[in-house]
Symmetry: C2
Subunit: 159 residues, 2 copies
DNA sequence: TTGATATATGTAACCATATAACATATCAAG
DNA sequence: CTTGATATGTTATATGGTTACATATATCAA
């Protein structure tokens, strides 16, 4: 398990790296990273935070890339279903994946003070779900872990 | 970690037990288990599944216990905030807690075929979040684990 | 037992999130 | 170049949740 998202970083290079990884992944898998899809991913990477579908839609609208909800939702569905972005259920919002291409079960750390979200990853097979699954015979296909609390910065400023 | 929810059980006694536990807990903590709150808890226990706020509201309406969304949401907020029920973010729905009174971090196993939900519990301190938290300094206050897949019965009938 | 404060309910109006349905356009392969 | 699959545009609507404000009920202290 490792985590990134609260540290400072070279943001413009992280946007480029994210786009590059997804472009490559799409090329390999024969997926179409169309202008709208690409722009939505870029917005998520630029924002580096969880963004609502309507917030994204507003930006698309201003840029003349479609003005109705399905435009945003379809692009987001594409990104989420191929693992290039994740939905934070707790916030009804979306965030770019920090490990595109890698098969992983994300775990999100959501700061309730500044709304920053860090993506860690958890192994669903062992530890937190393994035992319950073995006991019941439940077949896990997908798992979501969302923790709410205070990020290091916000925890520090109030301590 | 243990799990209940997919097994057959004596349902009327499980409803009674749930109500009794919450009644006692409210008495001890000076909380008011008003008629609406009590009825909503009863509905969740009877249904023994995740129910939407508007589904609950429809029933309350028929029974003359309030007809507007805030009535249902307020009762649900009360139950959730005191640990007597949980919200399943993934389904935008609510379910009675199977361990009322006990301090716990629930983990939900959601069957995508029959919509049954089982509540297991996970220890957030060790295992699935412990390492990420230690690495980042994030302070976890609350965590949600939701797994989607097939329950034993549904997995069996398709195998 | 009365008055003050906190807690709970009732209701109207509204905002936010998400999808259905259908028409049109573009792409990819034979 | 045409056929089938994939992607987009747009209208309308469904679903989930909150704000705001008026009224009622409980709690407790004087």
């Amino acid at each position: 398990m490792d985590a990134i998202g609260f540290e400072r970083h070279d943001h413009s290079s992280c946007i480029r790296a994210g786009l590059d990884a997804v472009e490559q992944s799409c090329a390999e898998r024969g997926l179409q990273l169309t202008p709208v899809r690409r722009r939505v991913l870029e917005l998520l990477l630029e924002g580096h935070r969880a963004m609502g579908a309507y917030e994204i839609l507003d930006i698309l609208r201003k840029e003349g890339m479609g003005s109705q909800p399905p435009v945003a939702y379809r692009a987001l569905d594409f990104l989420v279903s191929h693992g290039f972005a994740h939905k934070i259920e707790r916030l009804n919002a979306f965030i770019a994946c920090m490990h595109p291409g890698e098969d992983h079960t994300p775990a999100f750390l959501i700061c309730r003070a500044c709304d920053a979200v860090a993506e860690a990853h958890a192994d669903p097979a062992r530890g937190f779900l393994g035992q319950a699954v073995r006991e019941t015979g439940f077949v896990v296909e997908q798992a979501v872990v969302e923790a709410v609390g205070l990020c290091p910065r916000c925890a520090g400023t109030r301590a």
